[in-house]
């Protein structure tokens, strides 16, 4: 067992690693958004830095121009843009509107961002030890570095509880701007989150009902089809037929996830062409960047949950199909960080892909889709899952 000091140090190290990964992936996502949507729209996206004809920027530009000759690698031209983007947002003038509610205006992006980051506390990236610190390390020498921060047994509850706080940031930001378009955007967002919280929870309940646990790590392992030992000592394995509600549940969850993260086709809160930019019309500089961070971190969280619950988590095949991969195959049969992140990145790509393809729902249509369509369907799915659980 670890001493309290060791626990604290370990937690700090893990949090630092996690937050840096998020903070790295989020700007990379903004870069990927440009490039993916650019490629889809038969153009190139970002390819270069601004800069003089001499010096560092020019060197990078030259390098990326050479990179352009190589397929696939040419996708990563203009990669330094993400750093420039962040720098720009940091250095930009921070404007607070004259009649805005100053305190709320400043606090709103923080409210938006903190829950988005807090969600990652219970997400399990790897169900076990990634590596062990060498014994030469002070304090933490010889301790394992696990693929998850905490392993609490109400992980899902925590996710749903924390995740629903983020909308307050949007509502308050829209309200505090003291401007009409942000107000409309904030109100839309409030209504939207309330409507979609229910089908989101219902679709996640499928996983809970099937596995019987709220622990993220156990959930993901069980739903991947791995035989598990219960507290009573029985060996349980997910029946194959449970893949059916899981499969549909995945789509429902992803749909609700789009709505929760305010992405197209449900980006009504910041509808570019209707409400100019919705709730963050009046925001600029770092405060705007926090909203962005929150949005992309939310996307990552949704992707990670979807990957962990529905897409087989750390194993290769989703929906419990992993059992057909014989254990004798060395790499593919084992859980891996690579599989998990591969699925997360694919889902993140899907966010961008959908954004480039679909139009936007109207406000009332979004509501009707949520209430009249998604809630009944997820309920039916839940009943099916419960039936399967009961019978098998």
């Amino acid at each position: 067992m670890m001493t309290p000091v060791q626990q604290v140090v370990m937690a700090i190290i893990q949090i630092t690693v996690l937050v840096s990964i998020i903070l790295l992936i989020v700007p990379l996502m903004t870069f990927a958004e440009r490039k993916v949507i650019g490629y889809i729209q038969v153009r190139l996206g970002a390819t270069r830095q601004a800069g003089g004809i001499r010096g560092f920027a020019a060197g990078i530009n030259k390098l990326s121009w050479a990179m352009g000759r190589i397929p696939i690698l040419s996708f990563f031209r203009g990669l330094p843009v993400f750093a420039a983007d962040g720098l720009k947002l940091l250095l930009k003038e921070d404007i607070v509107p004259d009649r805005a509610d100053r305190f709320v205006f400043v606090i709103a992006p923080v409210i938006c961002m903190i829950p988005a980051f807090a969600t990652f506390a219970v997400i399990c990236f790897y169900p076990g030890t990634l590596f062990t610190f060498p014994t030469t390390f002070p304090i933490i020498g010889g301790l394992p570095f696990t693929g998850f921060l905490t392993d609490i047994n109400v992980g899902l509850l925590y996710i749903m509880a924390v995740g629903s706080i983020g909308v307050y940031g949007i509502v308050l930001g829209g309200w505090a701007s003291n401007s009409k378009y942000p107000l409309l955007g904030g109100l839309r967002s409030a209504a939207q989150i309330i409507s979609y919280e229910i089908p989101l929870s219902l679709s996640l309940l499928v996983a809970v009902v099937l596995s019987g646990t709220l622990n993220f790590r156990e959930l993901s392992l069980y739903l991947a089809g791995v035989p598990m030992v219960t507290a009573a000592g029985e060996i349980v394995q997910m029946p194959l037929i449970a893949a059916i509600p899981l499969f549909f549940g995945f789509f429902f969850y992803i749909t609700c996830g789009f709505a929760e993260t305010n992405r197209v086709p449900f980006d009504l809160a910041e509808a570019e062409t209707e409400l100019v930019s919705g709730f963050h019309t009046e925001y600029s500089g770092m405060k705007f960047a926090w909203f962005m961070l929150a949005e992309y971190a939310n996307m990552m969280a949704v992707s990670a949950i979807a990957a962990g619950f529905f897409l087989g988590g750390h194993y290769l095949l989703p929906f419990g199909l992993q059992r057909f991969v014989p254990d004798s195959i060395p790499f593919l049969a084992q859980p891996s960080l690579l599989f998990f992140f591969g699925k997360v990145f694919f889902l993140l790509f899907t966010f961008l892909w959908v954004r480039a393809t679909l139009p936007r729902y109207r406000y009332d249509q979004l509501m009707s889709v949520g209430w009249k369509w998604l809630i009944p369907v997820t309920l039916v799915n839940l009943v099916i899952a419960a039936t399967i659980r009961l019978i098998f």
């Binding site: 729209q41 038969v42 980006d267 062409t273 209707e274 480039a356 936007r360 109207r362």
Partner: protein
């Protein structure tokens, strides 16, 4: 028990989806529109007054700048109305080339409409796909007359020069791939459930209201009225062309979308006929270097991409410039119907309605 308060909100003049500097004053009850008042004039440059002080030759460059996405159509209207005022007989080859260019321009204008309309409703990618084809058309314009947007394409009495070598090949290359491109747009939009929900039944205006408000063009045709100036009062070489007037009866945004898509195909068909049947001969009528008009007044409408574009010209005896010049811009007249289409509906529908009316503020304000 509850206090109802209406919110007044200005959509524009700076707004991403008002397509220029249109300002719409909206009174909202929640997100429902109680009153909608379009306010125009932010781009008023006095084109009519300017043209009254320019010669008939010079006037053409101002028509480029009214409906700048359909400059060739405007040029055609100007050239034809001056020719009508003077009674100039234009060679047949010039008519064919004019028809071809105008139809290309109709496609390019509709492409811009399609792209921006889809973008307003949230579909980003159609915009770029539409601009890909539009770019090819603009390349054709560039090789024909040297400019891409403000074309000043035609001259009074015909064309400045004959078509350049290789031009037909260039247009044919566009023709060959354009039908596939229409299918791409349709894949992204026509059957898409979100697109259908956003457009079906939105911003309706029936045939009687259209006629009452003087609304013309695809909006009128989507209401089931088979009226097209190209058929009703043929000009240029349209009398010799074989094409259909696409109509729908639903009179909503989706119907207008389908009508315009069908117009793509009809324009494609007309261009093909122009290429195949392009007659030989000179392209410029013999006209004096100084045009001095007789006392006459004419109103010459053409079917611009947005609807009936009419030029009203009054000629003075011996005058080198028009005594009076008036433009009946289709966008200007069509925009009148906006309150009719949006009142009692939702805020997002205003965006769809402005998009589906296809207004260009350069023409509204002139």
């Amino acid at each position: 028990m509850f206090k109802n308060e209406e919110l007044e909100i200005n959509l524009g003049p700076q707004h991403p989806s008002t397509h220029g500097v249109l300002r719409v004053k909206l009174r909202l009850d929640g997100e429902t529109i109680v009153k909608c008042t379009p306010i125009v004039g932010y781009l008023h440059r006095g084109v009519e007054k300017i043209c009254e002080n320019k010669t008939f030759f010079q006037g053409q460059v101002w028509t480029d700048r009214m409906d700048y996405v359909a400059a060739v159509s405007n040029n055609l209207g100007w050239a034809e109305s001056v020719e009508k005022l003077f009674g100039i007989h234009v060679p047949r080859r010039a008519h064919y080339v004019r028809t071809m260019m105008t139809e290309l321009n109709r496609i390019s204008s509709h492409l811009l409409w399609l792209g921006t309309h889809a973008l307003d409703i949230g579909a980003m990618t159609v915009f770029l796909y539409a601009f890909r084809e539009r770019e090819q058309i603009l390349d054709c314009f560039e090789s024909f007359c040297g400019a891409r947007l403000t074309t000043t394409a035609f001259r009074i009495g015909g064309l400045r020069e004959d078509i350049p070598p290789g031009f037909i090949k260039q247009v044919q290359a566009f023709q060959d791939r354009f039908l596939d491109c229409i299918d791409e747009y349709e894949t992204l939009l026509t059957e898409n459930r979100i697109w259908k929900r956003r457009t079906i039944g939105i911003a309706p205006i029936n045939a009687d209201e259209c006629i009452a408000f003087g609304v013309t063009g695809p909006v009128l045709r989507a209401a089931g009225v088979k009226y097209d100036v190209r058929k009703a009062f043929p000009y240029a070489a349209y009398a010799e062309m074989n094409f259909e007037i696409p109509t729908r009866t639903e009179a909503d945004t989706y119907a207008r979308y389908l009508v315009r898509l069908e117009e793509f195909r009809q324009s494609h068909h007309i261009i093909q006929q122009c290429i195949d049947g392009l007659p030989e001969g000179n392209v410029m009528a013999k006209i004096p270097k100084v045009l001095k008009s007789e006392v006459n007044e004419i109103y010459h409408p053409i079917e611009a991409p947005k609807g009936e574009l009419g030029y009203y010209l009054v000629g003075e005896k011996g005058g080198q410039n028009p005594y009076r010049f008036h433009v009946r811009g289709p966008s200007f007249v069509n925009l009148q119907a906006l309150p009719q289409m949006t009142e009692g509906r939702l805020l997002a529908d205003v965006i769809a309605a402005i998009g589906t009316l296809d207004v260009v503020l350069g023409e509204v304000d002139r």
